[in-house]
Point group: C2
Chain length 243, copies 2
Amino acid sequence: MSKPIDDIVDNPAEQRDDRVQPDIDKTLSGQTTIALREAIIKGQIAPGEKLNEPTLAEQFQVSRGPLREAIRRLVAMRLVRHVPHVGASVVTLELDDIMELYDVREALEGKAAALAAENMSEHDIAKLKELLEVHRLHSENNAGEYMQTEGDFDFHYQIIKGSGNRLLTDQLCDELYHLIRMFRFQTSRFKSRSNRALIEHDQLIYAIEQRDPQLAEILMRKHIARAKASIRDTLTKPATENQ
Amino acid sequence: MSKPIDDIVDNPAEQRDDRVQPDIDKTLSGQTTIALREAIIKGQIAPGEKLNEPTLAEQFQVSRGPLREAIRRLVAMRLVRHVPHVGASVVTLELDDIMELYDVREALEGKAAALAAENMSEHDIAKLKELLEVHRLHSENNAGEYMQTEGDFDFHYQIIKGSGNRLLTDQLCDELYHLIRMFRFQTSRFKSRSNRALIEHDQLIYAIEQRDPQLAEILMRKHIARAKASIRDTLTKPATENQ
DNA sequence: GAGCTCTTGATTGTCAACAATTTGGTCTAC
DNA sequence: GTAGACCAAATTGTTGACAATCAAGAGCTC
């Protein structure tokens, strides 16, 4: 009974990525892509910093070829900007960029929730409910820490996959997902919405269970819109007011 | 009075792309990207066909380096699939893929219309209205031929740009836009929706003019959903029934 | 001293050769 | 005759060297 959710909960973020692109790291450029991506997301390479090809190639122990390819993939992923004959640099996520990102997220994940209500299998819905229960326990024990990060990602991830739309899944999980991860690494100081998120997730599951696409979409959009508003409030006010 | 719209109407599709990425063709790999992209979209390289690197490099008169880079960009654009150590091949757009594409389009362009209703300048709205009038005249004179192709793109393009969301604009105009172009080149036989599209565009402009985001979003989503349904009907029925 | 031009250094873009992997065919064993 | 292993050709992945372009600083002119 508890087995089926173990393989969801116990997986860290990296492992989850590999399931989406299982053979990207068989090649050198694939490994470099992941390594460089994580270095950027975790801030080991600062936002706005220039990506010097010879230096990074030395650093990752590869030639400039695979490194350039990795950079190009991160450009497509919008983690890196590139200007011809000038070079590549890590994107700087201003507040405006995050707001734009969350508007796109609202549109895409809203549709994903609607499609999930239509297409998700009963088995996957059951798994989702168990997942939420695990998160609820974690939240009670660890004062809401877990829910904010990987737990929230897991939940949204499962719903997106449940939409059955591969294009939608790729766009959200392979591209925008990493941008959000990068943002969260940069600003880990915004107000916890753990309890509220749990309630909203609860309602969302109910809508999916009832096979109500419109309600599921509305709930997901409001959920993301509130997260967006929360971020804006936190980042526009001085940091001292948030205690 | 007629000047401001000339620079919209008289531009072919290629020129419009260059405005989005003005300096992509300064470099060899950029030129190769565009050339290969157009060859794929226009069907000069058949769907499913393998992209042989030495052959294509010879064909485009470049080395394998820039060609590989072009391929990678088209992979990010979802026009090409790539399997490590096996190679790249042109995507095959099945009906399911188009349906998925239009679901994503519905979500993104719906949000774009809502944002356009909020953010579009009065000047841009006026230009949009003039653009629609030009299309109406073209449609009356040429029996609805123009509207189906570039005219429709122009209209949607302006609204997307009017959203003011750069991420949204990039995703739609730089990536999904080319997938739709490819699909239209492959199947140019589906039922004309010219008159209906004109009416729906009319209503959409009205909603934007009234600064009504919710209505604009609903109208745009219905507009795209109807186009999706029309495509499904045409492609699932035998071709002889469409006359 | 300010502004311009030229030059130099560094960095990116491109190329051609080398290495590694896959695929298709052939041969052998059962 | 079929299944499996092995071999060879073709293709992709990778490398290091070369060419083109840009940015910064020195020197010169006004």
